[in-house]
């Protein structure tokens, strides 16, 4: 049976925890709004870009001269997995879910006899995957210093990936990130970025009468590397919103748990306080009776 003092200390410590989780939840809520706005602002660009690319890809993609970024290297032996996670923890299953999806993919590919390489963005994913797949790591991108993810960051990552692709280090690249559905639901997603895949639905039917300056092929060759950056940027933004959403709901749960714990401890505290008083009374009364 813990003493009264112990209980009191316990209660005040849980109260402090609650204050912290509550503050974190509110910070996450504010950040979430900003992250969502950023994701929203980036959407028009990505949509238009994809529509144009889909149109171009449909008209050029079949020819033999199609760029490698679109047509692939003709093999899928070496796979690069770009795993994008958060830099911080305390956001529920967010990081774990992405890492789990990536892990399944790695094991699946290895079982199929493919060579797997891993590039991580974000500290948390690296920590988890490094334990199991230390030998497969080819690089890590650190965004700890970045307060707000910008297109420049995505471009940096894309440049790194493209340089590796040009050097023939891999055939297929897939990015892993979490799609933001709402505050409680984030869906870990794998998306292939090299060779590029486009929704056929977005393709524009009018591609036949458009003037291209310079040629279609040249535009495509110019745009494909940008497409990689755009997709990575979209992934990073989705991830940002997901992370804050996940943290918000995780901290909300933690705050509620702390509240319940405080209630329980308070009841226990009051009970044992009364027990102590009762005990003292019994002692006094039985002492008086004995006289």
């Amino acid at each position: 049976m813990p003493s009264l003092k112990d209980l009191k200390n316990r209660i005040s410590s849980v109260k402090n925890t609650r204050k912290i989780t509550k503050a974190m939840q509110m910070v996450a809520a504010a950040k979430l709004r900003r992250a969502q706005e950023a994701a929203e602002d980036a959407r028009p660009y990505a949509e238009r870009f994809n529509a144009v690319m889909a149109g171009l890809a449909a008209s050029v993609g079949q020819s033999d001269t199609a760029p490698k970024l679109l047509a692939g290297t003709g093999s899928d032996q070496v796979q690069l997995l770009v795993v994008m996670t958060a830099e911080r923890g305390l956001c529920g299953g967010f990081n774990a879910n992405i890492a789990k999806l990536a892990r399944q993919k790695v094991l699946g590919l290895q079982a199929a006899g493919k060579t797997v390489k891993i590039l991580t963005v974000g500290k948390k994913g690296r920590d988890v995957l490094k334990r199991e797949f230390k030998d497969l790591f080819v690089g890590h991108v650190d965004l700890t210093e970045v307060k707000r993810v910008g297109y420049v960051d995505a471009q940096g990552i894309a440049k790194d990936i493209l340089a590796r692709f040009d050097a023939g280090e891999f055939d297929v690249a897939t990015i892993f990130y979490s799609k933001f559905q709402n505050v409680v639901t984030q869906i870990p997603t794998a998306q292939q970025i090299i060779p590029a895949e486009f929704d056929a639905e977005g393709a524009e039917a009018t591609s036949g009468v458009v003037d291209y300056e310079p040629s279609e092929e040249a535009i495509l060759a110019d745009l494909l590397p940008r497409g990689v950056a755009t997709q990575i940027f979209a992934g990073l933004l989705e991830n940002g919103a997901s992370e804050q959403g996940a943290r918000m709901s995780a901290m909300d749960n933690a705050t509620r748990n702390a509240g319940e714990m405080i209630d329980k401890l308070t009841i226990e505290y009051n009970r044992s306080r009364q027990a102590v008083i009762t005990n003292e009374l019994i002692e006094i009364i039985s002492g008086a009776e004995a006289l």
Binding site: P44, Y45, V210, E213, I219, L223, R226
Partner: protein, 137 residues
């Protein structure tokens, strides 16, 4: 004949402009061109330069650093890698861009494997510097 057309300028981070424009001057990679309503559908890549938008409300200018422009029957959309409104532009900004282009030129020159890249980077650098004189900063 339609007098204005829909003009959209979007960068990866945000949408900068969406308005009705009379004419838009585009710094295309093969030369400047001006798009007016009912222009033939065209897709062109951009070189670093100044995008001039003439709208009934007045003329605005943006500095763009590459990307592409798509002219369709409905209007014109410009997707720029980076777009900065001219009145927010400062010497420091430009210096930064020139510095970036110079660094890119240097890495391209050191790495002799890709020939086209060196020329591209050199052109980019020249474009950036020309831009500075053009803006008389």
């Amino acid at each position: 004949m339609a007098d204005t057309m829909q003009f959209d300028l979007v960068s990866p981070e945000r949408s900068l402009a969406s308005l009705q424009a009379r004419a838009v001057q585009i710094p295309g990679s093969e030369g400047d061109m001006t798009a007016m309503p009912l222009h033939a559908p065209t897709l062109t890549t951009l070189r670093p330069g100044i995008l001039k938008v003439e709208a009934p409300e007045g003329t605005t200018e943006y500095l763009v650093t590459g990307g592409f422009a798509q002219i369709t029957a409905e209007g014109l959309s410009v997707l720029a890698e980076r777009a900065i409104p001219m009145d927010e532009m400062t010497r420091a900004h430009l210096d930064e861009l020139i510095e970036e282009a110079r660094a890119m030129y240097k890495t391209a020159k050191d790495d002799e494997s890709a020939h086209g890249l060196v020329e591209d980077a050199a052109k980019l650098l020249a474009d950036m510097e020309a831009l500075g004189t053009h803006m008389s900063l």
